[in-house]
């Protein structure tokens, strides 16, 4: 099975972004609750905006969105969406390792189903259009000059 490098990049940024946001929100929620009850919304904004973990999570999710749009510009939606669901597996694994969440029997079954599903979609025909032959530098210069 071959996955496009951008698919892997989108999955990595999305999972890591979600994990960082979860870590940040779990840590910040007591102080956010206090600010919310006191209706100090600016303080809430400042709390999250000055938190490195939260902002790294947001930056990663923004990067994910740009990569996702790039994928959609090149490939079928019915390929991109199922294949990026491999991220569910990565997120579940990272959550188990970094956040200490438990993975039960049925969740393992879910992970197996997703893995098999991603494999089937990834090998489906015409998933990735064959890349255009790359111009060598010399050819590129020649076509620039003749244009």
């Amino acid at each position: 099975m071959r996955l496009h490098p951008l698919v892997l990049a989108s999955v990595a940024t999305n999972s890591m972004g979600n994990i960082l946001l979860t870590m940040a929100m779990k840590r910040l929620s007591p102080s956010l609750d206090t600010s919310f009850q006191a209706r100090r919304f600016v303080e809430m904004g400042l709390t999250v905006a000055t938190d490195p973990t939260f902002m790294s999570g947001v930056a990663l999710l923004a990067t994910f969105f740009v990569i996702f749009l790039t994928l959609l510009s090149k490939m079928d939606l019915s390929y991109v969406l199922p294949v990026t669901s491999v991220g569910y597996i990565i997120t579940a694994m990272l959550a188990a390792i970094l956040l200490g969440e438990k993975i039960s029997g049925p969740r393992w079954a879910g992970i197996a189903c997703i893995a098999l599903g991603v494999y089937l979609v990834a090998r489906s025909e015409q998933a990735v259009p064959s890349p255009a032959p790359r111009k060598t530098d010399l050819q590129a210069v020649e076509s620039e000059l003749s244009a």
Binding site: T70, S73, L77, L81, A92, I114, V118
Partner: protein, 123 residues
């Protein structure tokens, strides 16, 4: 009843967002960036496409439906229900975007839907 509407909102807005963004990004075409000028040209072409804003608006509506649903019900109810959006997306891709969805891709999509359901349902 409200929770059903919110879950329907997540699925329908999310699916339309994906379909519109996919359609728009394919019409915009080549996004390869080799230098700073390419980067500005790409940003310019994306930023003037109405489909981009419709798509992002749909995604935002799906996200706020998700937040509202999560404030009302458990993740283990909301997330398994939204796994249906894989199926809806593939139906939309086939009939609206005219993508070629073969049997292997359909089987894979259904397995992923089942997997996402199993991953989030509570026992």
């Amino acid at each position: 009843m409200k929770i059903v509407l919110l879950i329907a909102g997540i699925i329908v807005f999310g699916t339309f967002g994906d379909l519109i963004l996919s359609h728009t990004m394919k019409r915009i075409g080549d996004l390869s960036v080799r230098n700073a000028r390419d980067l500005f040209s790409v940003i310019g072409r994306v930023a003037v496409a109405p489909g981009f804003f419709f798509g992002v608006a749909c995604m935002a509506a799906a996200f706020f439906s998700l937040l509202a649903a999560l404030s009302m019900a458990d993740v283990s109810l909301v997330e398994p229900a939204t796994s249906l959006s894989f199926v809806l997306n593939t139906i939309g891709a086939k009939f609206l975007l005219k993508e070629n969805v073969d049997r292997s891709r359909w089987t894979g999509t259904l397995l992923i839907t089942l997997g996402a359901y199993l991953l989030f349902i509570k026992y």
